[in-house]
């Protein structure tokens, strides 16, 4: 999984979100390091949807009905958990080796 895909899955773990709120979430959660542009964002969303990790959902009531909302699927959650566990193991290993130096 590419880092940007991971960031998007993390961002989609919360309530359903549309394009702009995803851009903002990813930006905030990465301390402004990751800035998504429209073309790239929708290409990734399409890939994630095709993989079945996220899905389009109905727009929540009282929100902008013109926009498309996305949410993580169970498959996506499982994939995220797996990826996070793997990353966690890597992280622990890295810390251990850094301390040993």
């Amino acid at each position: 999984m590419k880092p940007i895909e991971l960031s998007l899955l993390v961002a989609l773990c919360g309530p359903p979100a549309h394009g702009y709120s995803l851009v903002r979430r990813v930006e905030e959660e990465s301390d402004g390091r990751v800035k998504l542009l429209p073309g790239n964002l929708y290409a990734i969303l399409q890939r994630l949807t095709a993989a079945g990790w996220i899905q389009e959902v109905d727009a929540p009531a009282e929100s902008d009905q013109r926009r498309r909302y996305y949410q993580i699927t169970e498959l996506g959650t499982a994939e995220l958990a797996r990826e996070t566990a793997a990353l966690g193991r890597h992280l622990a290993l890295a810390q251990e080796r850094l301390l040993a130096r």
């Binding site: 851009v23 073309g39 964002l41 013109r66």
Partner: protein, 900 residues
Amino acid sequence: MKHLKLARMVFAVGLRSYPRDYRRCEQAELELLFDDLAQRELRERGPLCLWLLVVRCLGDSLVVSRQLRRVRALERSAAARKSLGRNDRSRRSGMMDVLQQELTSAWRSIVRQPWMAVTAAATLAVGIGASISMFSVVYGVLLRPLGLEEPQRLVNIRQHAASDPSDASGLSVSSFAPLADRVEAIEAASAWFYDSVTLTDGDAYRGDAKELGEAIVVAPNFFEVLGLDAFTGRVFLPDDVSPGAGRGTVAVLGHQLFESTFGSDPELVGSSLTIDGVPTTVVGVVSAVPPAPIPGTQIWLAHGFDPEDRALTRRLLPIARLADGASLEQLEEQLDVYYQGLASEVPALEGWTGGATRFRSDLLGPVEGGLWVAFAGIGMLLLMACANFANLMMARLSTKKNELSTRACLGASQYRLFRQLSIESLMLSILGGGAGVALAMVSLPYLVAMSGPMLPRAHEVRLDWPVLVFATFVAVACGLVFGNAPAAFGIAGEMRSSNASRRTRNDVGTRVRATLAAVQIGLALTLLAGAALLVSSFHRLTDSDPGIDIERVAAARIYPDDDRYATLEEENLYFEELLQNLEAVPGVERVAMTSALPMDPQAVDFDLPFRRADRPAEAGAEPPQAFYRMASPGYFETLGIELRSGRTFVATDLDGAPTVIVNETMAKQVWPDEPSVGGQLLVGFRGTVQYEVVGVVSDTSFSALGAPPKPEMYFPSLRASFGGRVVVVRTEGDPADTLNSIRASALSVDPNQPVSAVMTLKRLTADTVAAQGFYSKLSGIIGMLAIALALSGIYALISFWVSQSQFELGVRMAVGATRENIVRLVVGKAFRLAVAGSTIGLGASLLLLGNLRVFLFDTEPLDPATLALATAAILILAVLAAWIPARIAARSSLARMLSD
């Protein structure tokens, strides 16, 4: 908001790069997201960051769309392999792929050096934006077809005294009526005159009373002669008003008025409007762009000219269509014969003849030369921008030396590298062109507003297809010629270069860049000197003494209605009452009346022959002529015209012995060596009445501010009525504040007598020099832009040289050069460049500035002081522009300089 709208448009164009089906699904989403991002960027970081976002998004679209296409191509070929067992990729899609690959790679290369790209595109944007704006004006005013049938056959006809062809006037009804019948060279003739009308109400109009400004009152065959058809409804028909019937009850509106006041209501045609208190039927709307002799005219009224109507004396302006095959010369010859015939019927026309001029040259001639010169100035600006662009492209090429050599080593052909560089420069020039169009969209309304009343057809100036085609042509040409020249020049050398030859190549490159910068400085100097000349000339013009006090005077032009004021006495009574009424208006200091104001383009103006009563008439010689003016007692005081000797008019002059006051020019001409006061004049063709000169007054500008005075005679009262009079009012405060009271006061004397125009003298005089004002402002802007471009050119060149010469400068410092030495070295380089450029510029100025002579007032086109000042300014600014990179160079650490 303009930025946002424009950014959206540019982004939408970028979306075109996506495959169509993808676009269909995602376009709305992509646009919504872009909108949010753009709004945030504009709100939080300003327009510049917004445009950077647009550039990034365009790049993003290109990259993503390419990925998408690649994935699809792979999918397609996998599917094809599966079904056919072979790869069946078409040659066409292969070429498209290569092209797209080149585009993407060019885009990446541009984005890698964003500031270089932004500077290059911005430089071109300035040049292209300015040229598009000016081209829109030139195209809209001069080149766009007039929309008339064979406009080259249309001529204006005026009459003038045979002795003075320069002083043309309108025709009276009696001289116009037989024109078309008696002159063979004329196929059809019509005539028109100006009037100011007020719209009060009507079926289709329930708003407040509205001043419609200048209306054109025309003979019913006017549109037929022009060959102009109605856009909706019809134009006038001969039956609409019969000859001699006076103003009819039908009107034709212009498209603008139809849209703005009546909301393009189709019901308007056939409905009735109350114009000047008369119910008038709108019969049609003429096409969007009828060329009007007065810019902004939007209403035409039909009129059956009455030969007895004194208000039309010398006021009709005929327009005629030449018979097939007839020439202007033939027409003029026939007009001579025509006037000789008329003189036998109307003795007052003895010594008069007719003159004809082309309609198009009358309408556009006064601005044609100026607009082309301004366009040439802008062309020089564009050349400067292109030189800057070429310089930046060359600098860019130098920084890509390694990349190019590597690619050449890996097998890229010369053609391939050249194509890559061409695509890059084309992309930049098209970006610059796009930004230029955006700049033009923003600046064009200001440019048109700046032209004030001088520009005919101003409403036809707009950014439309012909202008955009021009813009595309300019952008592509700039990219291909100025972007590719360095590429073509550079590649061959870069590819084959050994170290030794590269050194030579680099020197040549530097020399070419320096030459380009010097040419730029030269062009800037010429443009700056031209601007300085026009600006100082305009200041001299506005500071020139018109001979009257224009600060606190307002004037109202009134053409007394012939039906209501049939005799001169009735007319006089009306004006007397009006003057008394005006004196009572608060803020009014004094009032007076004249037949024609100085510098008034619509003055009823003519000159009369005269001779000294104490000298016998010379047989056979043409008598001298002077302009006729009526000036009521108090006129000279109201206008601030100074009395040189004798006295001004008093009330007793109105019914006492005939008296006249002359201006200084006339006094000097007629009585060169003796006092003119007390002299006796015989005035008129028959010259039976003897007038005593009671005073001499100072000269006034005649036709426009700064125009030389002409001999003038002032009489205290009219001996016959001949149409309009002008009431002048000196006010205590700003005369603009009293304009409404003046109009109200006139209407209180007679609510049915229209007031043709109320204006301040300041406005009137300013309008006479509107063209010079426009050229001076425009040249000022061109001059400023030229300086900015030249300075950025020098700055870029020197910065680049400094960055490329780090090692050389480091060695100099290592062997003992001080920081001052380094600054002097770098600045000296710029100074030498500026001196070389100034020499080119002075040469170009000597060649070109002579063309400005016709636009200058009291200023020599090759004024040494102006040229010296402009040169000094360019030299100083060039040194300043080089100062910054020089300081940076001098402050760098020695270690870093040597390691580079």
